[in-house]
């Protein structure tokens, strides 16, 4: 950490971590609804729909808080100046948290916009926009005062601007359902396969520069190429959501072709990370941060790239669209691409904010968190995939009524739930570890480094 205002990131990270735990706990409840027959009296008060709205909105809120915290950490270091208005950053966090809590309580009492993932009622959207404007002003003024522009922060700020702009398309009421979903995807698809990829690529590049000691020029050059490919495939790739919503037939071609190319930029990111690791001038320490970084890059490719490609072609999507196949892809992609990235950044930044020498920390316990979460989410996604294939075959191909085709799926939802328990255990371990991070036992760490041996008792 080079500037004192970078400390602002910490309360963002802490809030994000607590919401993360709540999100996963809510996910278990959502899964339980699939294999347990809930009594009517409970369904009347707390239906699946409400729990799902909480689960997804918590995800979006905590990931965004993580991105914002990361930005507040990254921008002072990239511009070599203090953040313009640190107090405003705290006010902004307050607004977002209050909005989040009001929204969650509101969902429970049926106060909702009623559109999946965009359930936050319109009056609260205004609060979100105000907070976003504060954020962009704060970051923008910091950069322009310092007059130092780097590709890393350029990508980050472009991603954040793009993100804020797209949110506006989710606010109005659309009379026509097809038009509604058309622009719904401008928020949801262009976020995760556009704006968020810009942010993710910038955060990854920043960490790689700092951890490997590889020349910034090399990292930034590949960053340009990655971003170009992400946006080339991702922008027109929005078409893979337009196959069956009442849009013209050419979207089957455009969506199919562009989204079939979407795995390539992610693959480039994997190769690029690998190259940076090979040409590193510093040791791969701390080990856990590296596990998170590499694990994230790999699961990003598997979850978003491979699982996405599996059902993106219109010939396949005709049968899998709107089934648990989508759920399987969604969980692994979000986890690999954005959850692990945020956690990597937390593991990178928190020891530096706390002033631990060389960013090293006591890794014990942290490994358990990573492996429980990652294997848990992987198992969960595979269970959803089995459920999705069953649903596709029984309902879409055999023509069985929905509720009969769901019967064999209930077992696989139980298997997903069991893996969800593993995920929750991992999340609790990780959140606790990150919030109570201690400096590395110095001498022991030095000795291990000289011997080049994995440490006893450190697990993975």
């Amino acid at each position: 950490m080079s500037h004192s205002t970078q400390r602002i990131a910490y309360p963002y990270f802490a809030a994000a971590l607590l919401l993360f735990a709540l999100q996963v706990a809510m996910g278990l409840w959502v899964a339980a609804n699939y294999f347990i027959t809930m009594p009517q009296s409970l369904v009347d008060v707390f239906p699946f729909a409400t729990a799902r709205a909480m689960h997804t909105n918590l995800l979006v809120l905590w990931l965004l808080l993580g991105f914002m915290g990361a930005t507040f950490y990254l921008v002072p270091e990239e511009t070599d100046s203090e953040l313009a208005w640190p107090k405003l950053a705290m006010v902004q966090l307050g607004i977002l948290l209050v909005t989040g809590v009001v929204a969650l309580v509101g969902f429970f009492f049926g106060w909702t916009q009623g559109r999946p993932l965009l359930e936050i009622p319109r009056p609260l959207d205004i609060a979100v926009v105000v907070a976003a404007l504060m954020f962009l002003a704060n970051v923008g003024v910091t950069i322009f005062r310092a007059k130092r522009f780097t590709a890393v922060q350029g990508s980050l700020v472009a991603g954040l601007l793009f993100l804020a702009l797209l949110y506006l398309f989710g606010i109005p009421f659309y009379r026509n359902l097809s038009v509604d979903w058309y622009y719904w995807w401008w928020v949801v698809h262009l976020w995760v396969e556009g704006a968020w990829e810009l942010i993710a690529a910038a955060m990854t590049a920043f960490i790689l520069i700092k951890l490997t000691g590889v020349d910034r020029k090399v990292v930034e050059k590949w960053l340009y190429v990655e971003l170009g490919l992400f946006l080339f495939t991702g922008l027109a790739g929005t078409g893979h959501h337009y196959y069956w919503l009442g849009a013209p037939r050419y979207w089957l071609w455009v969506g199919g072709i562009f989204s079939a190319l979407e795995p390539f930029p992610i693959l480039l990111m994997v190769i690029d990370t690998w190259n940076d690791v090979r040409h590193r001038t510093r040791p791969m320490q701390p080990k856990l941060t590296w596990i998170y970084l590499i694990g994230g890059v790999i699961l990003h490719f598997v979850g978003a790239g491979l699982f996405g490609f599996a059902h993106t072609l219109p010939q396949i999507n005709y049968y899998t669209h709107g089934s648990q196949v989508t759920v399987s892809h969604g969980h692994l992609a979000f986890f690999g691409a954005y959850v692990l990235l945020n956690l990597t950044f937390f593991y990178f930044a928190i020891p530096r904010i706390k002033g631990f020498p060389d960013g090293r920390y006591d890794e014990r316990g942290g490994q358990w968190g990573f492996w429980l979460m990652s294997l848990g989410v992987l198992g969960m996604s595979l269970s959803f995939a089995v459920a999705g294939v069953l649903q596709t075959y029984l309902e879409r191909i055999q023509g069985e009524p929905y509720i009969l085709a769901q019967q064999p799926i209930r077992f696989w939802m139980f298997v997903a739930f069991a893996h969800g328990l593993m995920v929750l255990a991992g999340v609790i371990v990780t959140v606790r570890h990150l919030l109570t991070l201690r400096p590395a036992p110095e001498a022991a760490a030095e000795q291990r480094l000289e011997e080049g041996l994995p440490s006893p008792g450190y697990g993975g």
Partner: protein, 238 residues
């Protein structure tokens, strides 16, 4: 590769894709009216969409394949179930799903809201979306039943269905009537005995059902109708 080439890749890639997306968005807007039959999108349909959002239907159900995956897709629910069955489910989910392992919340909708919702779902069922979803594909309804109907006109149960005028309320094949559920749909869900009992006393089997009782038919006749309907079930294996 030089820094210059890298930047060029970024700008060419981004801008070409952006231009394509915006251009096609413009053209798609020109076609939406025809594809979604926007001329039938009246104030009642819009009121129905408001009700649909107010009660957060979309976080359990999918529509056009989007939303929660917890309850059946609603894109073609109007042509599949018809108005009465939709009403019965919304007005009294606690009765309609009493035996189901999955429940629907009782949200106490007003009669007006229910009527608006039906109008909305009727409008949605006509959106031209390349015949998705496959399980409710109109083309498939027709294919799977045309053959059966051709032979069935000579059969006794088909004569009974005709005599009792079932098709004045139920859809079958490319014959459309939206008061009751589609016969193929019933056939996939129920067995002949259940249908026979239902014909005798609908109220006993599904309280609140709108269908009249056909208790003047004998049990054998009702069973024949039941077997006929079961044989109609859509699906590739039949």
């Amino acid at each position: 590769m030089s820094q210059r080439t890298a930047k060029l890749i970024f700008w060419v890639g981004t801008l070409s894709s952006l231009v394509l997306l915006l251009g096609l968005t413009f053209d798609t807007h020109r076609q939406f009216a025809a594809l979604t039959h926007a001329d039938h999108l009246d104030a009642q349909v819009v009121a129905g969409k408001h009700a649909f959002e107010r009660h957060n239907c979309n976080d359990c159900h999918t529509i056009l394949g989007f939303g929660g995956y917890y309850a059946p897709d609603l894109t073609r629910v109007y042509s599949r179930l018809g108005e009465d069955a939709i009403r019965r489910r919304i007005e009294h989910p606690e009765i309609a799903f009493a035996d189901s392992y999955r429940k629907m919340p009782q949200q106490h909708l007003s009669q007006e809201e229910v009527t608006d919702l039906v109008a909305f779902l009727q409008w949605v069922s006509n959106i031209d979306n390349h015949d998705w979803p496959p399980q409710h594909s109109e083309a498939r309804w027709k294919r799977s039943t045309q053959r059966l109907l051709a032979g069935a006109t000579l059969s006794p149960p088909a004569a009974l269905v005709k005599q009792e005028d079932c098709l004045s309320c139920h859809s079958l094949g490319d014959h459309e009537a939206h008061k009751g559920p589609r016969l193929e749909w019933i056939g996939a869900r129920r067995d002949a005995a259940w249908i026979a009992d239902y014909l005798k006393d609908p109220e006993a089997m599904a309280p609140g059902a709108q269908m009249p009782a056909f208790d003047d038919l004998s049990r054998d006749q009702r069973l024949m109708i039941g077997e006929f309907i079961v044989s109609l079930a859509a699906g590739e294996r039949r």
